[in-house]
């Protein structure tokens, strides 16, 4: 009984202590929350996102912050899962009194966060959630306070379909993760654009994100003699599929989306493949060069797509705040709608549904190098 009382008392004391923490509102800083899946199934995406956003904040602070105030980052773990995402969002909004959220990576977490953000008039910009409903209400209207920094699916899928056809490929096999919105969206729009423009889809197979053995599907790919294997997933799946495809005698050219962009992409497994991306790391624009150089200096690795988008998202948000001139989310949201900002991934403006309008590039993976092959405007 004593231990029970002791544990209980301890808990209550701890709760009170934390509840009474000075949560709010020093006039001197602007707080930005970074919600990222630091635990759960994809912490590697979370870490990239956090690092990209933190670098943007650090650089802005070095330049004197925004509106003359320093920026303070509040990082919370949202686990790529609805429940922790809701708790993390509630926590940063209420305990830390943030007005701006960068995050989440996964649509399944971004959607519940966006509803809380909308309710509390907190601006959310998701770096990488492609699901249309992140920025839309259930009735189809746009959420006033929610933006995103990534392409939505139709664009990239169409880009790659056109690119494949321009290379003279006529048959394609699509592999996609049934449970991943991003992958599924790209696959759907690739299929549509490819078959409408005269290509032929010779096969379509789905897998789940925890699969590691793709031999059953790859055997079918080899049987189908497709010229293109469209695999719009993240690099981890690409590495696995690529390595196994070579063993299975698959000769199709692999193609994918920006999920491929990572220092951890196995260039040997993906050799001969093409993917669409936001930017070319060899681009001579100063913002691209300084981004790649600074990231490398700070974290000792090449930035992946997630870090880049988090960096862009944070910068877009800061530009919006600067443009509005006040720390008032209504005005910032209005300012962001008319923003025209030069980001790493090109010139960004937002459309009516708060999706960015920007161009894409196609990168080729060949002999261990990633080289720029084409640029596609929206």
């Amino acid at each position: 009984m004593k231990t029970r009382v002791a544990v209980f008392a301890l808990l209550i004391v701890a709760m009170l202590l934390t509840a009474c923490q000075p949560g709010a509102a020093g006039g001197g800083t602007i707080k930005i929350a970074i919600l990222a899946p630091l635990s759960g199934p994809v912490p590697t995406f979370g870490v990239s996102t956090r690092d990209g956003a933190l670098l943007a904040i650090e650089e802005a602070n070095a330049k004197g912050g925004v509106l003359g105030k320093k920026i303070e980052a509040v990082v919370a773990d949202s686990q790529c899962t609805p429940d922790p995402a809701v708790n993390a969002a509630n926590k940063v909004i209420e305990q830390d009194k943030v007005h701006y959220i960068v995050g989440e990576v996964c649509s399944s977490a971004s959607i519940p966060i966006s509803e809380i953000a909308e309710k509390n008039k907190v601006i959310q910009i998701s770096p990488t959630s492609t699901n249309p409903t992140v920025t839309l209400n259930a009735d189809g209207t746009t959420k006033k306070y929610v933006f995103r920094a990534c392409f939505i699916d139709p664009f990239q899928g169409t880009v790659m379909a056109k690119f494949a056809l321009s290379k003279g490929y006529k048959t394609a096999f699509i592999m996609f993760d049934q449970g991943n919105d991003y992958v599924r969206g790209l696959a759907e729009f690739f299929e549509k654009a490819f078959s409408e423009a005269g290509g032929q889809i010779v096969g379509k197979e789905s897998y789940t994100k925890t699969d590691t053995d793709f031999s059953a599907i790859l055997t079918k790919v080899a049987e189908s003699k497709a010229e293109v294997l469209f695999l719009p997933d993240y690099y981890n799946i690409v590495n696995l599929v690529g390595a196994q495809a070579k063993e299975k005698g698959v000769t199709a050219v692999m193609m994918g989306g920006d999920g491929w962009d990572s220092a951890d992409l196995d260039v040997k497994a993906a050799d001969g493949g093409f993917y669409s991306n936001h930017y070319d790391a060899a681009d001579t624009r100063p913002i691209v060069q300084s981004w790649v150089a600074n990231y490398q200096k700070k974290y000792n690795s090449v930035p992946d797509a997630l870090a880049t988008l988090a960096y862009d998202a944070t910068n877009l948000l800061l530009a919006g705040i600067a443009k509005a001139g006040v720390d008032d989310t209504d005005k910032v949201a209005a300012a962001m709608e008319t923003l025209n900002f030069e980001a790493v991934s090109g010139n960004v403006t937002f459309d009516k549904q708060h999706n960015p309008i920007k161009s894409a590039v196609v990168i080729a993976v060949k002999d261990g190098k990633k080289t720029f092959t084409a640029s596609v405007a929206p």
């Binding site: 029970r4 773990d77 429940d83 708790n87 926590k91 209420e94 519940p112 699901n131």
Partner: protein, 425 residues
Amino acid sequence: MFKRIDRNSLLFFGVTIGFFVVVQVLILVGVLTPFYETLLRLGAVYAIVSLGLNMIYGFNGQFSLGQWGFYAIGAYTAADITFRWTNQASTAGLTVLLFIVLLVGAAILILYKLLGRLRGLDALSAFTVYLLAAFGLAVVGVKIGQVVAIPLNSVLAALPAGIATTIVYVLAVIIGALIAAEVSFLFGLPVLTLGSDYFGIATLGFTIIVKVLLDNSDTLLGFEEMKGARGMIGIPKVTTWFWVFLFLMIVIVVVRNLLHSSYGRAIVSVREDEIAAKAMGIDVGHYKTLTFVLGSFFAGLAGALYAHINGFLHPDMFNFIKSFDPMIIVVFGGLGSVTGTVFAAFVWPLVLEGLLRQILPPGFETWRYVVYPLLLLIMMLLKPNGLFGNFEVPYLRQVLPALRKKISTERSQAPSAPAVKEVNG
């Protein structure tokens, strides 16, 4: 005797209603922010599903890992009903599911009576009969429901929007729970014949099967609005602290009264020793089924309430790894202790989602899931029988004749007593 029970009940209800009022007032004046309110609502939901599991495992000795699957069924069923009402102004979901529930439920009850008289009918054969009946009647239910929906639409549309939504919501929650209970009956019928660990594994499999089906709910099952692995949006967020507390209180009272009845003693006797219980004339299979169905009913109820907290459902929520959560809560609180389960269910989200978020210094956000299992390990090493052991608050306490020595030492916290290896033979 009477007086004592009365006083205890009064005390119990006084304290709980007081607690409810205090929390409600704190929410209204804004001291308890939505952050803590959400955690409290989640705590109540966890309490309901964990009480169901405690019934099954703690009191009946069936090692079930399937509660999370029933939770998912309840959540998606209720969400589908309220989704159709708020977004499509249609009660088709409500009526169809209502008639399915009623028809299948009636069929199960009748068949249970009839088949119970057939001696030597093995579980798998019985399962085939139930399955055929359930499928047939479900088809009939769909047809009737679609017809009835049309007049009901206009009736509900005539009511003020708030009241109509509340009616649909409460019915949805109950239907969600009933569907979970009926599925658990069908599933439990053959599977309950398995030995304890095998039963646990089969139910774990059930959770995984449900999750995979939900992943493909839009393509394979044909429920467009559930959006498969994209996550279901547009569910009204109507589960308030009042509703979760009300349902939690009902569940606690039901559990308490059941356990204090002869049914409860029969249920516990099955846990203690199946063979002895059988020898005493207790229909072991019947009580196992009863407890399993009731526990799953609670799981479905909790799921249905949960669906309307965030207004968003995603199959990843119902991952098999999460299915250990109620088990952790039950063991943490004390196996076979209602008080402990409820307490642990509130503490668990407060610690994991609340406290650990607050106290970990910046830069250590990735450590949350390192600290949590360590806490779990320390807890288990210090108090292997759970925080409360078999302690109950007076209202829930049952005055029973002393148990056999072996069992009572296992369940008590006397440190000197030689503990016993197995809970479930």
